[in-house]
């Protein structure tokens, strides 16, 4: 097995784990962790393609740096919202956030 394929398989596994986490977890923080796994699986793809795909430029590396910065920004906002949820409801379980429905 060449090295690109093994990286892509790891990234696909990470992606699936993230997807599974988002779908099954009810804890707001755990859902965020699942989303981080999805973003990192994409990052791993970018780096692996750039390193082993025979590409001349560094587009993939640069893309992954941008993704890391944005993931941090997104985590800050999402955690602030979840802290606010905890203040309002005394829980981070998203099933308890059920004011809006219909």
């Amino acid at each position: 097995m060449d090295s690109l394929n093994s990286y892509l398989i790891i990234s696909a596994v990470l992606f699936t784990l993230g997807l599974y986490g988002v779908m099954t977890r009810r804890n707001g923080i755990a859902i965020l962790m699942g989303i981080e796994l999805i973003l990192n699986s994409a990052n791993l793809n970018f780096i692996a393609f750039n390193r082993f795909g025979g590409m001349e430029k560094l587009d993939g590396h640069i893309f992954s740096i941008f993704v890391m910065v944005l993931a941090a920004a997104e985590a800050v906002v999402a955690l602030a919202i979840i802290i606010n949820l905890f203040k309002n409801l005394d829980t981070v379980n998203i099933d308890n956030a059920d004011t809006l429905k219909g």
Binding site: A42, N45, F66, I81, L85, L89, T99, G102
Partner: protein
Amino acid sequence: MISNLQSINYYIPELILVGSILLAILFDLIPPLKKWNYYIALIGIVATGLFLSMSFGSDKSLFMGMIAIDSFSHYFKWLFLISTFAVLLVSHYTKELDGTHRAEYNTLLLIVLFGLFLMSSATNLIMVYLSIETVSIASYILAGMLKGNRASNEASLKYVIFGAFSSGLMLYGLSWLYGISGTTSFEGVRQALVSNGNPLTIYMSILMMLAGIGYKLSMVPFHFWTPDVYEGAPTPITAFLSVAPKAAGFAILIRFFGSVFSNSDLTPILGLEWPVLIAILSAATMTLGNFVAVYQNNVKRMLAYSSIAHAGYMLMAITVLSNTAIISVVFYLTIYLFMNLGAFFIAIFVENKLKAKTIEEWKGLGFRSPLVAGAMVLLLMSLTGLPPTAGFIGKVYVFSALIENDQFYWLLVVAILNSVVSLFYYFRIVKSMYLVGTDETAKVTPHPVILGCILVLSFPVILLGIYWSPLITFIQSIL
């Protein structure tokens, strides 16, 4: 290719906007200047508009092919400027936002506006992701602006979880597009896909891309957040989210599918069948939006489902993606901006003055505020697509784009049946305003600024319904 340093000469409107964002943050930090923050935001938008109009007609690829300054993005930027300006004006006079950090609110709106500018001009995969995230992250905060309010808090929670999830899916799709092509520019990706693309991987990337963009358009099956966020968020933000990011989503969808997954004559690459996929999603989007809207009692929630349905109508034109289809969708978006913003502004007024959230509570508005109720009837007629309003003309152009290309007649039938359904729930509001009796007879009038915004937004709806040819000729001449 224009280098980064030279690009700055053509990037002045955006730089003015960034400058006013920084100034707005600075003014927020200095207590005596804090009240000027709002005026800085307004002046920033006006100045951006002035410099934007000076750059009209240029067609350039800036920052090493990262973004394109062309008439397509130019037109969309005007839509964003108008909607942000109107929302900023109205937000200042709504009671709903009392007790929140208004200065942060104004600044965040400007940041979203900058992100929207980038979305409409992105021509690189990196820029697509960056611009969508810029808009999203600031919108999450805006949706949760009412901190102690459970509904607003819940809206922002649902928004951030769905948003981060679907942009994660899109990013994974982008990583595969990059892997296949080895480049991040739209043109390079298209060439690589045509020369050595495998249909299966391209379909996978298309699906993943549709997750990210479809979430911005509230396209089925990525629409779940829409009703909750629209109901819970402050109403001016709901008005903004239902118009500007949706328009930007269409801009990015047209540019991405038109230049990556289509040949230069706008036919799908490698004969792929993605138009069928979009046709099915479009039919599902409009049907779900219209049928669920029938059962809603909350006005904001009903308008949320109606905005899902309108996204479905506009997606119809993306299925053919011919030149006439692009013109029709841009025309429809322009009309949609006026009618949807107008309807939401009336909802803001009713919520402020009558504390009314449900359709029943709108009763007697026809007698208590005849001018506003009349404008609402006009806007609802336009949202339904009845002549002689602009909504009718918009629908005619979208439908004719499909007929001209001799494709998807079944989609046309679905859309026409849907319009009939929409008549039912829009006119429940009219019925409540005029036909339900009420003991309250005291006249109510909105704040002059809100009334002005409502009238200014309603006027084009009737004008473009009667005399639309100048606008359509203008759009044809620039696209």
